[in-house]
Symmetry: C2
């Protein structure tokens, strides 16, 4: 381990943190070569945040940027009278906080217990300029986020309540357990957020979300274990619903 001698014990711990990071390959961090991991580790600090922690406050100076390594973060924008739109949920592997302005134009709050690696602006800028692959990876992620935002605009502007809920469940569906079976049966959907959050994400009220989920349950399209975990019984049916090919 020749690296060991070059860093303080603290830095070594950090390096180890990045070395063993299971989500590295699924995040912007895979833009940094293994041999340079120490630089990455020194540029960020890992934090554990309890549910409901405000990570980013709309309108405050944009000094921190985050990579989510565990849990789910909600991103949102608000109107003066309190109406709120959740613009996305950042799950494991997602990077958040980017802006070209001096201040954040959106808020971010933890949904459940969340682990993040926090980058401060100067360190992030160094990474961006020194590691082209890191910047490229970030460009790709923002490009993906934009495509997702466009899909959500289609949902918010043109889909019915049923179509919105179906789309939401479909998007949050876990990849089916990698057994020998086909994709048509029993996929799990984890819903760490509350009904209020789902409603604010889908541009609906909590009552409409609740009623719609109940209806899907009644029709055997889904099955409700508890409120934060749903099982999809008919994936294809849900897919049809989501894109407006509603049979009934």
């Amino acid at each position: 381990m020749p690296l060991r001698r070059r860093f303080t014990p603290e830095a070594r711990t950090d390096l180890h943190r990045c070395l063993v990071c299971e989500i590295r390959e699924h995040s912007v961090c895979n833009g940094i070569d293994d041999s340079e991991l120490a630089i990455l580790a020194q540029a960020s600090k890992r934090l554990t945040l309890p549910p409901g922690t405000a990570m980013i406050e709309e309108g405050t100076p944009a000094l921190s940027f985050f990579n989510v390594t565990a849990g789910t973060v909600k991103l949102f924008k608000s109107l003066p009278d309190g109406r709120r739109q959740i613009t996305g949920f950042a799950d494991v592997g997602h990077f958040l906080g980017l802006t070209t302005a001096k201040t954040y134009s959106f808020g971010a709050e933890t949904v459940d217990t969340v682990q993040v690696c926090r980058f401060l602006r100067p360190q992030l800028e160094t990474l961006l300029t020194d590691y082209p692959q890191f910047e490229r990876r970030l460009l790709d992620e923002v490009t993906d986020d934009l495509a997702e935002a466009q899909e959500q605009m289609l949902l918010l502007g043109r889909k019915t309540a049923r179509e919105r809920v179906a789309s939401f469940l479909l998007n949050r569906m876990m990849p089916p357990a990698p057994s020998g079976q086909t994709k048509t049966e029993g996929c799990l959907v984890s819903l760490p957020m509350t009904r209020v959050d789902i409603a604010d994400y889908l541009g609906l009220t909590i009552e409409t979300v609740s009623r719609t989920i109940s209806a899907l349950r009644r029709e055997q399209t889904i099955t409700g274990t508890d409120n934060h975990g749903i099982r999809v019984l008919a994936v294809n049916r849900l897919r049809d619903l989501a894109s407006g090919q509603d049979s009934r």
Copy 2:
């Protein structure tokens, strides 16, 4: 002009095109240094497109990318039954076509007569890797697009028809004529798109858009010259409307 000898006449014309390009500084192209303009010029071709031209077809291979140098392009997503959501209007200076997938996830069509510089994928990728400033500028633009998309999600998910139309007019308002007057009087809004496009952008029907604009005219918030050019009489009032501080 020592450069002249290094390029074919055609390339020289292209170089001139970039040299005199008035919008260069307001687009991703300002990521390329003046001395390297020839490279930029050779990587792109300028096209003039009549109104209603389909530039990008949803689901087709993503081979071309565009920088708008004149006119307005609409970007949209559609549902199988024809419902459509316009996700944004790309005006002069905007770059469009980016995706991490093999195919476009959205469509693009000219609103009026449009001039674009078209980049093919290999050339664009070369620019991205060879000119870090170009890539940085693109990252900034996509980041801005994402912020705009989030603002539009707030509009689509949580604003009333009045608030949506007010927001739209406000966003498309020209900077007030740079005379000595204050910002409170008579700004112009250019609306090259049809009512159908406005409705598909705001998640409303054409009837609701029409009625709402008529109402704003009746209340003297705006004044209608013709259908594609509106003058805002009370900017502050419009601003209040857009953010939900509605007096009536």
